[in-house]
Amino acid sequence: MDFFGTILWPIKWVIEAILVGFHWLFTALGLDPAAGLTWVLSIVGLVLIVRAALIPIFVRQIKSQRKMLEVAPELKKIQDKYRGKKDQFSREAMQRETMALYQRAGTNPLASCLPLLVQMPIFFSLFSVLNEARQDKAGVGLLTQELADQYTNATLFGVAPLKYSLVDAFNYGNVAVAVIAIVMIVVMTASQFYTQLQIMAKNQTPEMKNSPMYRQQRILLYILPVVFLFSGLAFPIGVMFYWLTSNIWTMVQQFLVIRNMPTPGSEAALAREARLAKRNRNRIAVDADSLAETASEEPAKPATTQRQQPVGKNRAKKQGGSRR
């Protein structure tokens, strides 16, 4: 066993156990154990378990976000101090001061680096588990030779073998795999694109938008589809289902975070304040219906494409002059 194999061994064992567990569950529910769909659902189940295990970290983030409200005025002060200063040294000084503020307040809205790094070995382990299974080799733990056989021969919808990548699809002339892989690449790109766009367009302060980092992120947004295309060429569609599900999970989670806990001072924060204000207004309106009546504005004029007949000055006065 090579170096990485030794390090990844425990993770591989757990991943196999989860995969086989889901496979057993879906088989018990009446799905064909050798069908591609059963295996795809097992992979999706694996993603759900992995991401659900990371939820406590996520909740932790929500809690510290609440504390952020307390430091918001001071944060605003720092942001104002560096408003319009775009050079690298000002940006760094601003980051340093912001971080010092968090430290003093004993709160930190950032997610930390470890959760990202934890997911990398999981993905590599999954890749290695599925890669060995497609070579018809039994796994390190619960993935028996029989199950490996089933995976090797599993085809999605009876036409697309899970073990094929886009390159294999071209080599063996398998149109179904090519179509599925390309659709997945498009969906993955779209979801990643949307996630990035949400973060960049809505959850950043105007100061952050002026930073060089932001420009770099924008360029990257257009490189991503190429990255996914290449990974789609190399990874078998079985592995890609992991990535796809994980991407969609991130997208939804990001949407919820940005909606409910936006970065103070960002567009999303303004939108949230507007939403809350509107809700409060509505509540008041319900409480005091008569008040709402008097406050209600005149109804918007219906849009019309018809040309208005020009009216002479004198006639306009006679009509009441309430035009315009």
């Binding site: 932790r60 971080m99 010092a100 430290q103 930190n108 997610a111 930390s112 680096c113 990035q196 992120q217």
Partner: protein, 104 residues
Amino acid sequence: MTSVGSFLLLLPRNICVAILRGYRAVISPLYGDVCRYYPSCSAYAMGAIQQHGAVKGIALGSWRIMRCHPWARGGIDDVPESRRHHDHYHLTRFGFVAAGHGKG
């Protein structure tokens, strides 16, 4: 002769610097701001490798990443200063380490 020697001596850390620059340009922006510390983990690792060399720098960087978990307090955490680096080396614009103390 000394320049060849120092080039070879500094080669491992400069390879690491190049890799980290690549990471910070391509992969880091994917995640946005996540690090609970200033400087961020990758910036810290880069500084540590520049100042202390590949072996100690990687050790310092790894220790930092281990500390950057959701229950960590975070905050300002600078790379420990290296007297030797300050006296004998300087950084190029790209971030590579070169012999001679800057200013020239």
